[in-house]
Symmetry: C2
Subunit: 345 residues, 2 copies
Amino acid sequence: MPEPDAGARSPRQPTIRDVAERAGVSKSLVSLVLRDAPHVSDARRMVVLEAIAELGYKPNAHARGLSRTKSDTIGVLLNDLRNPWFVDVLEALTATLHASGLSPVLADSYTDQRVGRRSVEAMLQQGIDGLVVVGTTPEFDAIQAAAEVIPVVLAGTRDPKLPNVDIVVNDDAAGAREATQHLIDLGHTYIAHLSGPGEIGQLRLAGFREAMIDAGLDPEEFTETGGMSEESGYAASRRLLTRKKRPTAIFAFNDIAAIGALSAAADQGLHVPSDLSVVGYDNTYLSRIRHLSLTSVDNGNFAIGVQAGRFLAERLEAPVQLQRIHLVPATLEVRGSTAAPPAGK
Amino acid sequence: MPEPDAGARSPRQPTIRDVAERAGVSKSLVSLVLRDAPHVSDARRMVVLEAIAELGYKPNAHARGLSRTKSDTIGVLLNDLRNPWFVDVLEALTATLHASGLSPVLADSYTDQRVGRRSVEAMLQQGIDGLVVVGTTPEFDAIQAAAEVIPVVLAGTRDPKLPNVDIVVNDDAAGAREATQHLIDLGHTYIAHLSGPGEIGQLRLAGFREAMIDAGLDPEEFTETGGMSEESGYAASRRLLTRKKRPTAIFAFNDIAAIGALSAAADQGLHVPSDLSVVGYDNTYLSRIRHLSLTSVDNGNFAIGVQAGRFLAERLEAPVQLQRIHLVPATLEVRGSTAAPPAGK
DNA sequence: GACGCAATATGGAACGGTCTAAATTTGTCC
DNA sequence: GGACAAATTTAGACCGTTCCATATTGCGTC
């Protein structure tokens, strides 16, 4: 006995049963059509599809998620939304997942943490079939816990080192080497590096060292501990540029830090690139801003996203696998912030 | 009869029934404890909580979502992840929602569209209780459809004009007026405006006009149609700056376009701010980059996020309400890109 | 025309919670 | 000490799908 609707309440979403009734078939058949299973006659399929359209039926994800084991849903843990780096990765990842019939579910770990929300846990409860971690994250424990239940892939970070978690990163050592070599080739000999955190930071530092040593230069003299922020890049550069013997080039951990270096240079009245060359890393759209025009190492974000999606799809097929590490080549994007050192230096 | 586990398969997540059995109570009681309902004796509650901890029980969101009408989940439709504008809004929004016991579910409309995924629809199927649209979006139809079923709030956009959808924006006209007035106060008389799209663009243009007319200046002379991208800001500025009579100040639709203006100025050998003043809008972290140091209108993103969260929470309480529009005050953030016009101009 | 097999279609039991109504326990008052 | 009300606890229906086991149908054969 239907009650009179109070106000403008919508009369409840149609369910699979409504569709079945309308089409004059069983709900099982409707279900089969929805999942476009084989063994359904074209005639019936037609009728059902029509009923679906007429009723405006939309499947209920919860119900589906409850009875199926899988949800075809992949959690994507984003970290610093302020770092534009992840956008390309996300785009490629989304496309790749979509091609495998998977839907990404986004979570912003940084913001969530600030409000005390456990993003990974929430996603797990929601029944994600897999997890992609994009960028450095602090939630090691949660990720480890997740990895025991579902496939996990790390994109652009190497850090929670876990036995059965795939890693997709760019070749940080090679990228750093190339950036440093570029400066060396320009004629620089006083080359500084603003190092960054984590294993990624170590690798970039290693690449820098390698190139310097190969060129017979001292890699230690101008290495400063930087960070991931503009602020820290600024501070570190300031320290470097106020020394009596100062570098003619700075290779920063990432674009943001490099931008801090640009500011520090401006403060000291140094012109980029004639007085000081600056190289960043990540090739974010920041580096492409004409006014900054930052030479930067492109870490192949798009390729990273694609491969991360592939790894995940593969793991969903065959869960038990050893850890795999995929290195995406890094390429240097030369822009206006690098040039030969000032004469006489 | 439990089968021997093939491989390292986890033995199925414990359910509410397992907890009940372990605690020696009914599953209903467990459910009550989970929702910390009143009328549960402390003794029982204790026992249940213990069992939950011992078993490592995690509630299944699908099952819950299926039987409850509400999901306490709010869809957040983000648009251009490349525009850092939305980050602050998201942060405030997340915090506010969280305080009301609601969880945000993120979707990236831009990326989703590129891969042909219907973000709003997906969220609806997932059972969101409400939707917040952050920033301009193209999915008008989908939003309209959503608004017929659940509360919808627009943050930072006015565009799908719908009868029962709340809007939270900054006072664009006032902000534009203030920015323009700042330039007038500095002594500029040749002031250009790079206008932007949508109603927001119209309002900022209107504010600009108002201030100009009040000051007895011609608002039309240097108004160019810009856009939301660096590219379009660059192009429009270039057109302006290559005229024989050129402006001494540019007020751009947003920070990104303003950065394009900076580049155009550099191309023409104009120094900012001594030859040309530039003002942006949005006060994104880009404007704060020392190297850019862009004077910009702060549109109170945080406040926008907070109010959007409130509106939504209110609508969840009392669904039938007329549309409300909340204006957040805009404040000018003066930085290094504005100064008095060159003497003799 | 009956028979057997494949191709289709259907009933009904899960899935893991919530929630209502009813049962049970506890407590209070005379 | 018993009646009655209040406070707890519980049984069991139900939410909308999936999917397994069982019908039912359609056809080619003999």
